[in-house]
Symmetry: C2
Subunit: 433 residues, 2 copies
């Protein structure tokens, strides 16, 4: 038999301890912000019936990007490509019992069959934060404030990112009333706006002209006006006076009060998924290395109702691990991360049995101890400890067994000191926050 | 369109906040023990090529229980049904660079297409703990000691569980030399022993007779001798004197020194997976409610070598979340778990804006605060806070805005006190460990 490949499946990643430390750091920051705002963690299955995505996630995601298959019992299922349908299903299943507003978060993995590229992997991790049961712009304000807080908690500054905000109701008004498009034309134009940063201005105009058909020239002028608008004041009066603008303005007032400085209105922001019904937003890195949206979210009031329950309003956001990691790298915000192991015990001579007992006693005191059980030479044991980036080495040989005083070496400063058991425990505890 | 089902996919579970708290408690205990012993966390992809299971996991697992399918690029893949092949693949991919002994752990989800029943779900979570590069029984001693430590950390006592230990080399000797079976017969007998607790003694004997064929009666007597052996001393001299017994005895010496009191030798323990090469063990609940093994592990020295790398010795164990949860329930070891949210702010009158600022200031001090943003009546807000099991409610109305002294109510004792900002922060910090 020929050897099996040792490579990870295409578009997925193996997280070795040094990679996992970074991921765990990202998860810990996500978790701290979600919990600071009173969100509670939930979990959902990896597999879902495919039709929950077909319903509202959009054709591209459901038909082209899912890992879907028929299980051994004939059910057509998909590895979840996103969390929103799952959490909506869960809320629908306990529509009556849950306390509202329900504030829920999860940290989970997802799969999409896309071409792997920078910031995009076939398997990826996301924080999903959702609030159910608040039919008021205060919900959007909270979710967007949290999005801002997450990036700040990683050490980002206000000008490192921008939060672009729009509203589906405003988009609908713009497409139907302002541009005079029918339902099909409106949908095509939304998709075109959604792709506008990925195609050339010439292509954009050509495709817009095709959608506008009869009134192409007047329509194109109107489209250009929208594209050029830098703020709400630049918009044509017709849009500025539409009723949905009120809730957009209220949102900006709440965000300002909450100290969010990176939010801007952007009439051209569409956000791909079909289930959004009100506010939509996307967060962008201001540095040119990351051109795609870091993450986004919005209001999706109709989704819970698809599962046979009375509809309930919902707003959510979902930052992804890979995009955040790229953001941190570009902005040099990845902290120095060391092993969670405190001490590596290097064993000399016949001290094996005593070393084992020492390790046990230290662990009982809450110290994380790796014990060398290999009977190797001193230099090999030291090499292992160094390679693992463990902060301290403890040396134990016949002398130390007698005196119960051990040599402790700081792996980074290389300074050594001789300490007894109690002092070792104190040293380690003092080094932790 | 008819409504979508709100049920989770068959054999999988939705973890609502109260379920997720229990799971997180289990994960936290797992993590603390793994890290106390100096193991570092890694992560692996959800999907793997199917053939990594076909190689060594055993036919039943690979052919009948995997969630396998062909991806959009024509690759035959499976949702991982276990972690051992993945972590072995990862070690093989960095065979030269990794520091040894490599001590690795992960907490991850897996899927197997099995009939769902008590303690067994189609999607389940496992702690996987593996040590690579120690060709000595000290590795088994460490892994089994950790298995014991995990159950103790949950509050289990020595007589709540038993760790049954056997050795594949001894099993091979028993099948080939003692029972005189050829390779095919030996494999059938191993599978039969593996099923012995699931079938009746009569069925066991009938099937054993069939495998033994010619020498059935003499063979059956020998088999009965093995089944009746309560300790190593009861075994026939032929087995007791075989060379593999030495390492079994050494293992028991090391376990005794490490304070493991629940370990017993069991010549009838087989452990299903094909990749084990030496020590095998399984942990059983001593209470009759849980008859299946809680979890198990063993030595699998050949697996890394399948991935084109030089072989490296390995020992691992993998406790599962569902089995542990059942164990904790039966032994009444699930602790009282409350929300991670510290305070629910109940907002009265026109205090909305001040309440929002107060929430922000408390969060800046590390307090987890859920703010009511619903403009609902007092009783409805209190009901939500109570249902969520949040330890404290804070009431803010016009008076509190003026005085900056707030009413804090302990949700469990229902005692109230009036506190200023600093005192609230102190109160919350003092309640946390």
């Amino acid at each position: 038999m020929s050897a099996l490949s040792s490579q990870a499946y295409k578009g997925t990643r193996d997280y070795y301890p040094e990679d996992k430390r970074v991921q765990n750091y990202i998860f810990a920051v996500w978790r701290s912000i979600a919990e600071q705002y009173g969100y509670e963690e939930y979990g959902a299955p990896t597999l879902e019936p495919l039709d929950i995505y077909a319903a509202k996630s959009g054709q591209e995601l459901a038909n082209e990007q899912t890992y879907s298959f028929t299980d051994r019992g004939g059910r057509v299922v998909a590895i979840r490509p996103e969390m929103t349908p799952s959490v909506s299903r869960m809320v629908a299943a306990r529509r009556q019992e849950l306390p509202y507003p329900a504030r829920l978060y999860s940290i989970a993995n997802f799969m999409r069959y896309e071409r792997p590229q920078r910031g995009r992997e076939r398997e990826f991790w996301q924080l999903n934060v959702d609030i159910f049961g608040v039919d008021d712009i205060a919900a959007e304000a909270e979710i967007i404030t949290m999005s801002d807080a997450v990036l700040k908690a990683f050490g980002a500054k206000d000008d490192d990112f921008v939060i672009k905000i729009n509203n589906r109701k405003l988009i609908n008004f713009m497409m139907a009333q302002y541009l005079g498009l029918d339902a099909v034309g409106a949908q095509l134009m939304v998709k075109l706006f959604d792709r506008k940063d990925k195609i050339s201005p010439v292509d954009f105009h050509d495709q817009a002209r095709e959608i506008l058909a009869d009134d192409a020239e007047e329509g194109l002028q109107k489209v250009d006006l929208l594209l050029d608008a830098k703020s709400m004041a630049d918009l044509p009066a017709e849009i500025r006076n539409s009723s949905s603008v009120v809730e957009v303005q209220e949102l900006f007032t709440l965000l300002e009060r909450a100290g969010v400085k990176s939010a801007v209105f952007d009439i051209t922001l569409m956000r791909g998924l079909d289930y959004y019904t009100g506010t939509v937003f996307e967060v962008y890195d201001t540095r040119p290395e990351n051109t795609r949206a870091l993450f986004g979210g919005g209001r999706y009031d109709g989704l819970v109702g698809l599962f046979g329950a009375e509809p309930i309003s919902a707003v959510g956001v979902a930052p992804g691990g890979t995009a955040i990691e790229n953001f941190l790298e570009v902005h040099k915000l990845v902290p120095e991360l060391v092993s969670k192991t405190d001490i590596y015990i290097v064993v000399l001579g016949d001290a094996k049995r005593s070393a084992s007992k020492l390790a046990r006693d230290l662990r009982d005191q809450g110290v994380n101890v790796e014990l060398d059980i290999t009977d190797r030479k001193l230099d090999k044991q030291i090499k292992t400890a160094t390679k693992k980036k463990i902060p301290y080495m403890l040396f134990i040989g016949d002398d130390e067994v007698k005196t119960e005083v051990y040599t402790i070496k700081d792996a980074f400063t290389t300074t050594e000191q001789k300490l007894n058991f109690a002092s070792i425990v104190s040293l380690i505890k003092s080094k932790r926050r």
